[in-house]
């Protein structure tokens, strides 16, 4: 059994790789950085914000064997006032978080590199339900991914028997998330990436369309659907008003 995970060097991606390795998968991780700890996963260096590099990656993967599990997890962010964030940073966020996984997904399936009965997971964000003032391009990129996943779900199921799961994790206890949160934010209430990985993989195996890891996440998603405006307002109070700097990956 073979699995591909993008952004597998740290955070949620590393936790997903570890869990898949424990389950006996051969894991390939695509990341612009090398893994931060020793791992059995094979690392392919690739900056997903660069189209030429993504094309080369696709060529490489298309020449190799098919995957049973493909997880598009890699994501970067740019936080601050929308107008203060550099245009290149907005573009890099959208390329990495939306264009690259969409292109890779379509490319791999066309080349027959996702096995029949296989699984695809897109890691979107809880921001799909709440909005995310202070990271508007990030929110846009994660919404693109969630809607793309929803759009291809039926065609892939009917034609290839491949299931598509979209994960909407809330705040995780990772270095990446800490970098982008307001300085005074409380780190302790965040979910451990290992826990989120376990829940997401369980939903993937059940071929669920949506994975909302954790009770709080599911509750916030529901609140966001019932009362979208108050929730975005709350996000503004909690995050945007407290942002003390502009940070781009």
């Amino acid at each position: 059994m073979r699995a591909l995970v993008t952004g597998g060097s740290a955070g949620l991606g590393r936790a997903l790789c570890d869990a898949l390795l424990d389950d006996g998968f051969d894991v390939i991780s695509v990341d612009r950085e090398a893994p931060s700890q020793k791992t059995e996963a094979k690392h392919i260096a690739c900056d997903l914000s660069d189209r030429m590099t993504v094309d080369n990656l696709l060529d490489k993967l298309e020449a190799d064997e098919a995957f049973d599990v493909v997880i598009f997890n890699a994501g970067i962010s740019a936080t601050g006032k929308f107008e203060d964030i550099e245009p290149e940073d907005h573009l890099r966020v959208f390329e990495t978080n939306a264009s690259a996984p969409m292109v890779c997904c379509a490319g791999l399936i066309k080349a027959g590199k996702i096995a029949e009965e296989g699984h695809i997971v897109f890691v979107a964000s809880l921001s799909h339900f709440t909005g995310y003032p202070g990271a508007s391009s990030y929110a846009a990129s994660k919404d693109a991914l969630a809607i793309y996943a929803k759009s291809i779900l039926k065609p892939l199921k009917n034609k290839h028997k491949i299931s598509v799961t979209t994960a909407f994790p809330g705040p995780l206890k990772t270095e990446h998330a800490a970098r982008h949160a307001p300085s005074e934010a409380d780190q302790e209430r965040r979910m451990q990436p290992e826990e989120a990985a376990r829940l997401i993989l369980a939903d993937m195996r059940k071929r669920k369309a949506k994975s909302l890891p954790g009770g709080t996440t599911a509750l916030l998603a529901m609140a966001g659907q019932l009362a979208p405006k108050p929730l975005t307002f709350a996000m503004k109070q909690i995050i945007y008003k407290k942002l003390d700097r502009t940070v781009a990956d």
Binding site: F82, F94, S99, M102, V103, G107, A140, S151
Partner: protein, 236 residues
């Protein structure tokens, strides 16, 4: 009534052109598109100023638009309508890579960068930024990338509306099917069904009324049309 300064992207045909022609009767309007001026074949009001700025290169499109605004000595804008867009139909959920990137560049990346660049122009007037989405923003199996691009615009507008509250009103409008050349360009022949599509003029009216209401999000489909959405509402 004040005479407004308005920028509309994708105003060479379809919904954008109908809106531009309509608004140019009482306001100053600049429209953009990717084609050469002489390739605009439909009635194009002589009041309109045309700027050629292809959004397949987002950074360049932004630069051109900003330069042209300065050249025409427009230091402020009351309304910006980000309407330019393309889509491609697919059979089995799988887009071609090049078309996917084209859709996202034109519909999302360019829209994001133009919105950002227009902030100083709009904040001077406490103006309105209108983003044209689509009812497909919730997902569509015949147009996965197009739906994704419109989902992105919906999310962009939601967060940006909150960020810019009190400075610039950001809104997203989601039209239902409109009778334009878009479907044919998308590789889709709607056939007799297109008789039920809303025509561009009533759609332009509904957009104008939505712009003056500054609310968001607003769905502009048949039900609103039948409810009188194209005859009742405030003009800009």
């Amino acid at each position: 009534m004040i005479r407004r300064k308005i920028l509309i992207t994708g105003g060479t045909t379809g919904i954008g052109l109908a809106l531009a022609n309509r608004l140019s009767v009482r306001h100053d309007v600049i429209v953009t598109g990717s084609r050469a001026h002489e390739d605009i074949t439909e009635a194009f009001s002589p009041n309109l100023v045309y700027v050629r700025a292809s959004q397949s290169d987002p950074a360049r499109a932004v630069k051109t638009i900003a330069q042209q605004l300065l050249k025409h000595e427009w230091p402020r804008l009351d309304n910006v309508v980000l309407n330019a867009g393309v889509g491609f139909a697919v059979e089995d959920g799988l887009d071609e890579v090049a078309k996917m990137r084209r859709t996202l560049d034109i519909n999302v990346s360019s829209t994001m960068l133009i919105a950002r660049a227009m902030y100083p122009w709009l904040s001077k007037t406490k103006g309105t930024l209108t983003i044209i989405g689509s009812v497909a923003h919730k997902g569509h199996k015949r147009f996965p990338s197009y739906a994704a691009s419109k989902g992105a615009l919906n999310g962009l507008a939601r967060s940006l509306r909150s960020e810019w509250a009190g400075e610039v009103a950001v809104q997203v409008l989601h039209p239902g099917p409109v009778k334009t050349g878009m479907h044919e360009k998308a590789g889709l022949n709607p056939g007799w069904v297109s008789e039920f599509f809303i025509r561009t003029e009533p759609m332009a009216r509904m957009i104008e009324y939505s712009m003056s209401s500054r609310r968001s999000p607003i769905t502009l489909s048949w039900s609103r049309y039948i409810g009188g959405g194209s005859i009742t509402g405030r003009r800009l």
